[in-house]
């Protein structure tokens, strides 16, 4: 039973000790802190960069071109918006050189709301990321998926963006969703791999001997089977959608929840299968709602499955406003919450053509 941030740390350990990861870097990624969310504590290839996101992304591209295996972190995705041109270069280099240079790098960054992060610790990045061709984009909702997707990202010969749902980083895995090799007892795991508070100069982690686990990029997961409404979502909203679905089950409404896990490439077959079954679709994500990735999914569903639909597909996303306000009342009103997801599912289920 690990948290998602521990799962990420364990994946990075496997990466640097067995899969050829040469550099794990970013602002405050190295000692003493090991990442603002502790994701990079105790890793032997972790180092601190200057406070320069453009340098971080450029460094990652250069290391990749030199045959290294970099894992770079942008401390919060809110601070990646001055690097979009470089992200585009990482995504277009293999194409522009007609196959001469591939760019195998992993970029990790925390995303989303849920921690009262105000304007600059609440951004989502899924809409922006899915607009950059040449990248693979993944976003886990459980520690086990985080572990397995990160190992797949490290093995991929292309640039892969690993979006970390901020609000889930300290959520523990459910029973039966263990990472192969981790100790069952979470206190024990914490003792082994969490850095102590205070002076850590002498501390060394004691890594469990972990098995490799690869969650394939491009495969969604049906996290709850249902017959009446298909909810297409990812990251933090998966847990909300599940909670909503459980409440609705009591009311006799049966929703299917699909965790996309991979945003690009995404699992179209899984979506088609679900929509053919339920004939009703709800897309949920936290990004602002104009030119949003959920709108792509709805557009394609409408183009290819129009006559399967018994109700207008619906998008539940972030309000189209310039930021997410600090106050509770503001954050709650700005991004989807369980109650809103529940209401939207119920409305779709009740809709008669």
């Amino acid at each position: 039973m690990s948290t998602m941030i521990q799962a990420i740390r364990m994946a990075l350990h496997v990466g640097e000790s067995r899969l050829g990861v040469t550099d794990i870097f970013g602002e405050d990624v190295g000692p003493p802190l090991g990442g603002v969310f502790t994701g990079t504590q105790g890793l032997k290839t972790a180092w601190n960069t200057p406070l320069d996101e453009r340098g971080i992304v450029g460094m990652a591209i250069g290391l990749a071109l030199a045959g290294q295996k970099p894992v770079a972190e942008i401390q919060f995705c809110d601070y990646a918006f001055n690097t979009i041109d470089l992200l585009k270069i990482a995504g277009n280099t293999y194409w522009s050189t007609a196959g001469d240079w591939n760019v195998p790098l992993v970029l990790m960054t925390p995303v989303g709301a849920g921690i009262r992060g105000s304007l600059y610790h609440s951004h989502s990045f899924d809409a922006m990321a899915t607009r950059i061709p040449g990248w693979k984009i993944v976003m886990p909702s459980t520690p086990r998926d985080a572990y397995g997707l990160l190992l797949s990202a490290i093995q991929d010969p292309n640039p892969v963006m690993f979006l970390m749902p901020k609000a889930l980083l300290r959520v523990k895995s459910k029973p039966g969703e263990d990472i192969p090799g981790e100790p069952g007892d979470d206190k024990r795991l914490a003792m082994m791999i969490d850095a102590p508070l205070g002076d850590r100069s002498a501390w060394k982690p004691e890594w469990p001997d972990l098995e490799e686990l690869y969650i394939p990029i491009g495969k969604a997961k049906v996290v709850r089977e249902g017959s009446q409404v298909s909810v297409l979502t990812y990251g933090r909203n998966v847990l909300m959608a599940l909670a909503a679905a459980e409440e609705l089950a009591a009311e006799g409404i049966d929703a299917e929840i699909i965790d996309l896990r991979s945003l690009h490439p995404y699992d179209w077959d899984a979506i088609v299968a679900s929509v053919r079954k339920t004939n009703r679709v709800l897309c949920v994500n936290e990004d602002t709602e104009i030119t949003n990735f959920g709108e792509h999914l709805i557009r394609r569903i409408v183009e290819e499955l129009f006559y399967e639909l018994h109700a207008p597909p619906k998008l539940l996303a972030g309000a189209h406003i310039p930021g997410i306000g600090l106050a509770d009342s503001l954050e709650m009103a700005s991004v989807p919450q369980t109650a809103g997801i529940k209401a939207a599912i119920a409305e779709l289920a009740a809709h008669e053509p």
Binding site: P50, R116, S118, I321
Partner: protein, 343 residues
């Protein structure tokens, strides 16, 4: 803090300020410190989600606030500050209770109506440009207000931009150096780097190729200086000199102030006291006592009074209303050109 000599040798005597000035600066430093302590207490008591501020920078930021040509428009100084600037705002006359309001993210917060973090000031009435969280962008934006005040425009104000040491690695710092020093198109811009030798957890050592960041200004032909930001009199003198140059020459100047970070980076790192750091307030109190300008008893009494004032204010702020959920849609678009004086 001459452009060639290091801070250390700047003569303490030469920098001495009048007793009145010293006591004014001291009182503002104390007010600023008490405010930061109140904000930290609020955070620890759950009256706010996040704290970041400037305990350890009062000796530099108070003189800055006192030396500003305060007002609205190009005939006054534009201030592009960062999230450690409460002491500067207080020195300019801001109400500390407004900082408590932003901390508590209540609707009465005049800087952002409960939208932004503590220390994210905005006050158009005084040319205090909005503090935004992204590091160093203020250096790319400051060149714009400075251009509106360039030689030939007749504008009497100048532009002051301030940021930390680690942030100078961003390209925006270079942007300010390049754009402000173009021959024949120089900008009246005072660039201030408050160097506390840390970026969150990352020490200065190992991240830079020079001992003083201000060295980077030399290639651009601008005067540079380093000052002991823990000494309010030295800071006052260094700022007065730099401001005098920018106001008269209408050209850029780069000033680096060595300061302390007394409570760590922010509440994210615990906001606990960093004992190894010099406390500019303690130091200045000693000096004032030595100069018999104040007594220990007076100091303790004054601190108690201010602390109680803010404790009381904190209670009142607790009762002020949270922003209305529907207010998230307010102020997306302006229908008046406020910055052009419309209202």
């Amino acid at each position: 803090m001459s452009s060639s000599a290091p801070a250390s040798i700047s003569s303490a005597i030469a920098n001495r300020l009048s007793p009145e000035a010293c006591l004014q600066i001291y009182d503002l430093m104390l007010r600023a410190r008490v405010l930061e302590e109140r904000l930290i207490t609020m955070y620890k008591q759950g009256d706010g989600f996040f704290w970041i501020g400037g305990p350890g920078e009062e000796a530099f930021n108070v003189p800055l606030g006192l030396l500003v040509n305060k007002g609205m428009g190009v005939d006054h100084d534009y201030l592009h500050l960062h999230y450690r600037s409460a002491a500067t705002l207080l020195a300019m006359g801001a109400d500390p209770v407004d900082s408590l309001r932003q901390m508590k993210n209540v609707a009465t917060d005049p800087y952002s109506k409960g939208r932004n973090f503590a220390g994210h000031f905005s006050k158009r009435e005084w040319n205090v440009v909005p503090v935004s969280s992204p590091i160093e962008v203020q250096f790319s934006i400051a060149i714009g207000t400075a251009r509106a005040q360039r030689a030939g425009t007749g504008a009497k104000g100048i532009t002051i931009v301030q940021g930390g040491d680690a942030g100078t690695a961003e390209g925006d710092f270079a942007t300010a150096l390049v754009w402000s020093s173009r021959k024949g198109a120089e900008l009246p811009l005072l660039m201030i780097v408050t160097n506390n030798r840390y970026g969150i957890s990352t020490p200065f050592a190992g991240q830079h190729g020079y001992d003083q960041i201000s060295e980077r200004g030399r290639a651009f032909g601008m005067p540079v200086a380093v000052v002991d930001g823990n000494d309010p009199e030295a800071s006052h003198a260094a700022l007065a000199k730099a401001l005098e140059y920018v106001r008269t020459e209408r050209k850029p100047y780069l000033l680096e102030a060595m300061v302390s970070r007394l409570r760590g980076h922010s509440s994210a790192s615990g906001a606990n006291l960093a004992k190894e750091e010099i406390d500019c307030l303690d130091k200045f109190e000693q000096k004032l006592v030595e100069r018999s300008l104040i007594t220990r008893a007076q100091i303790d009494n004054r601190r108690d009074v201010l602390t109680n004032e803010l404790a009381e204010a904190g209670k009142r702020v607790r009762t002020e209303p949270a922003p209305d959920p529907s207010s998230i849609f307010d102020y997306v678009f302006a229908d008046k050109n406020h910055v052009r004086g419309e209202s």
